[in-house]
């Protein structure tokens, strides 16, 4: 190691610095992108942000976008894939920066906040004059309607049900539950499934993410409670407290939940079921396709939520939407693509590949959905579906995440009682009701 060699290396570094800085200023290195739709000459670009990229969906969306681009010459859709953890941040930043994409795929609970920011385009007129307007289920329209204005197009709809292992049922010689099962039957099934020494648990409770609070809310509805009644927050009514106390007892008293429940998000509850650690879990139809791969199509089935002591039950509707922004530069192109995605073939291909339920009734009646046991529980839940009451105020979504979820986590861990959890949650909701 001598000084002369080190100095020449220094010189090399300096030259590199020089060329590096210059080259950075001059771009155009690679010509055509590896992927991405070919732009037709004169076609106006439509910027579309997709927020759940992963290889299956990317390939699917790419092919749908290609088909749209090739089917007409006026518009060319360009997709931007943003990993979902960053998708929301990026959308908010671009809206705040005054330059949102033309349209994006988001969930209905995000749309309320974007609408509150004044960022979403009102498409009531376009939707009502659309030829398939009547074909979309009214509840699906409800999830995207705020103050009588339609602000998104529902791409697929879903609601919550219970997944359970049919093979384990047979192994343990248990009775097959019926779609009209009750809380007691649910509990005894969960207990029968639980074998802690073999690392098997009955119910994969969800402790993290917005839905950690929505699932017990659905159970509260089964006990006759409501979130909002006559415009007042009633989530801490006696019926609700009893219901949530029963729910957290699943973890605390009956111990039918795995030890990780308090921080399990949707990825975890899907994976633990997929690996056979849990034998039941609550989720929407979105993970059905995943479980066919994980567990095997013949080894699980779905059911509506169990009927509660008040002889009622409810399941919250939830839709994946295509939303156009007010700041969009190409609104006509965005609308063309949105309505294309809801045509029969694209909608069928999209929903069937991913295990989602199409928003249009005529497509829903096709055997791919109506006859699939993995979807049966959800299709049977349609009569009990209601629009999530938490969509009522735009401020609620964020508060559920930041303040509500820690509360339910504490309840699941037994640190606070169900009453205290719901009382404090009700206060939070009341404050955001402006």
């Amino acid at each position: 190691m001598d000084e002369r060699r080190s100095i020449s290396r220094r010189k090399l570094l300096h030259t590199l610095a020089g060329t590096g800085v210059i080259a950075a200023a001059d771009l155009a290195w690679w010509d055509a992108p590896y992927i991405g739709p070919r732009k037709a000459w004169g076609a106006e670009p439509v910027r579309f942000q997709w927020s759940v990229p992963e290889p299956t969906r990317i390939a699917l969306i790419n092919s749908l976008v290609e088909r749209f681009n090739q089917s007409q010459k006026d518009f060319a859709v360009q997709v931007e894939y943003v990993p979902q953890a960053q998708a929301r941040q990026k959308l908010i930043s671009s809206i705040a920066g005054g330059n949102p994409p033309d349209l994006c795929q988001v969930w209905d609970n995000w749309v309320g906040q974007f609408n509150g920011m004044g960022a979403v385009e009102d498409i009531t007129a376009r939707a009502k004059s659309w030829k398939h307007f009547a074909d979309v289920a009214p509840t699906a329209w409800q999830t995207v309607t705020i103050s009588d204005k339609i602000i998104s197009l529902p791409l697929s709809v879903t609601l919550d049900g219970i997944y359970y292992r049919t093979d384990r049922l047979k192994e343990l010689g248990l009775k097959e539950p019926t779609p009209d099962w009750t809380w007691d039957e649910f509990l005894s099934l969960a207990k029968a499934f639980t074998k802690a020494d073999k690392n098997q648990y009955g119910y994969g409770m969800r402790g993290s993410g917005t839905w950690a609070l929505l699932y017990p809310s659905e159970f509260a509805y089964a006990n006759g409670a409501e979130v909002l009644k006559d415009g007042k927050v009633t989530i801490n009514s006696k019926e609700a407290i009893d219901a949530v106390a029963w729910y957290v007892d699943l973890a605390l008293k009956h111990k039918v939940t795995p030890p990780s429940a308090a921080t399990d998000g949707f990825v975890e509850i899907v994976e633990t079921f997929g690996r056979g650690v849990t034998s039941m879990y609550q989720h929407n139809s979105g993970s059905a396709g995943q479980q066919k791969k994980n567990v095997g199509a013949g080894n699980f089935a779905t059911l509506p939520l169990p009927i509660g002591p008040a002889n009622k039950r409810a399941s919250f509707w939830f839709s994946e939407t295509l939303t156009m922004f007010k700041g969009a530069r190409n609104k006509e192109g965005a609308w063309q693509f949105m309505s294309f995605m809801l045509e029969e073939e694209p909608s069928l291909k999209y929903c069937a590949t991913l295990g989602l339920l199409p928003a249009r009734k005529s497509i829903l009646e096709k055997p791919e959905f109506a006859k699939d046991p993995a979807q049966a529980g959800f299709v049977n839940s349609f009569p009990i579906g209601i629009v999530s009451p938490y969509l009522a105020y735009p401020g609620w979504g964020g508060k559920i995440d930041s303040d509500g979820v820690p509360l339910i986590q504490q309840a699941i861990l037994g640190k606070i009682s169900a009453k205290e959890c719901l009382d404090r949650f009700a206060d939070i909701l009341k404050k955001e009701m402006s």
Binding site: I95, P394, S402
Partner: protein, 308 residues
């Protein structure tokens, strides 16, 4: 060690020597200053402005100047004080352990042995992966039902029951600190290793001849000469860790029940879940002030980067 006094006779230059030195010094700084001005200083000023307004994105009609309103709310917010305490535990727990083990690693890597290049490279690896991915991987490792850690511990017979590391309020902070230590040791190892190279051998030899043992040589020679680098490394690391939300965000989301919620993850939540940019701005400004205060004191106490 005699110093020759620079007492050359000069003709009077146009610009005095001192001013020229100043100008040269400042001109060396210009590139760095430019970089920072555009990318950091301006946004910080914007954020300070943001914190003085009621700025909830989905309530644009309520947007107005409220002066210190966000700060008053901050002082009264119990979650904020909890996050501040968590931040202290997170930062000092991580950095102290990283420093101690990193130093040990640097000393080890300084020895001559075969395959030293390979071992040094392997030691760097934890630092290379993006924080989000580190979080995902370790979350998987910590998984109570199918994670490697529980599996190995149970197979080795050291544990009977499965512990939910990240879901239990008692273990969650320890678990994320452990991951942070794993990730941060290479930083100290490499920095201190580079610093150790500048210590001249003769000093060790002289001390050895004078009869000083290994520990004495370490204490009286190595540590003092490395002081500037130790201060730099620990100061930057403390600040980064304070601000570093990725690991905790991915592994526990600040849970369970705020057990691992640190101020920077809380700020993230306020900004992107509650869309309350005014409050988020106030939180970041307060965090900035806390760190400034700490750093000033720290530098004064350790005598900063003054030359040895």
């Amino acid at each position: 060690m005699t110093t020759l006094s620079v007492a050359k006779s000069r003709t009077r230059p146009l610009i005095s020597w001192r001013v020229r030195k100043l100008l040269i010094g400042y001109s060396y700084l210009v590139p760095a200053a430019l970089c920072l001005l555009a990318t950091v200083v301006v946004p910080i000023i914007l954020a300070i402005k943001m914190s003085l307004y009621a700025d909830v994105l989905y309530k644009p009609q309520d947007y107005r100047f409220i002066g210190l309103g966000n700060y008053v709310r901050l002082v009264q917010d119990p979650v904020f004080w909890l996050t501040l305490w968590n931040s202290v535990v997170w930062v000092f727990g991580s950095v102290i352990l990283q420093f101690v083990f990193g130093f040990a690693a640097a000393l080890l890597l300084q020895q001559a042995f075969r395959g030293r290049a390979l071992v040094r490279t392997l030691t760097l690896l934890p630092w290379i992966i993006p924080g989000v991915v580190v979080g995902l991987i370790w979350q998987w490792l910590y998984q109570p039902n199918y994670g490697v850690i529980n599996d190995l511990l149970i197979r080795a017979g050291w544990m009977q029951e499965r512990i939910a590391w990240l879901s239990s309020p008692d273990f969650a902070m320890g678990a994320v600190v452990f991951t942070n230590v794993w990730r941060g040791i290479p930083f100290f190892a490499i920095m201190l290793l580079a610093g150790l190279q500048a210590v001249p051998d003769e000093l060790y030899e002289a001390a050895h001849v004078d009869g000083a043992g290994v520990l004495a040589r370490f204490w009286h020679i190595t540590l003092p000469l490395l002081r500037p680098i130790i201060v730099v490394a620990t100061a930057t690391r403390i600040i980064w860790t304070f601000n570093y939300a990725d690991l905790i965000f991915v592994m526990t989301g600040g849970g369970p029940a705020n057990a691992t919620q640190i101020t920077s993850t809380y700020t993230l939540l306020q900004a992107y879940s509650s869309l309350d940019f005014g409050y988020a701005g106030a939180l970041s400004v307060v965090l900035l002030l806390v760190m400034l205060a700490f750093t000033t004191v720290y530098l004064r106490v350790t005598k900063g980067v003054e030359e040895t």
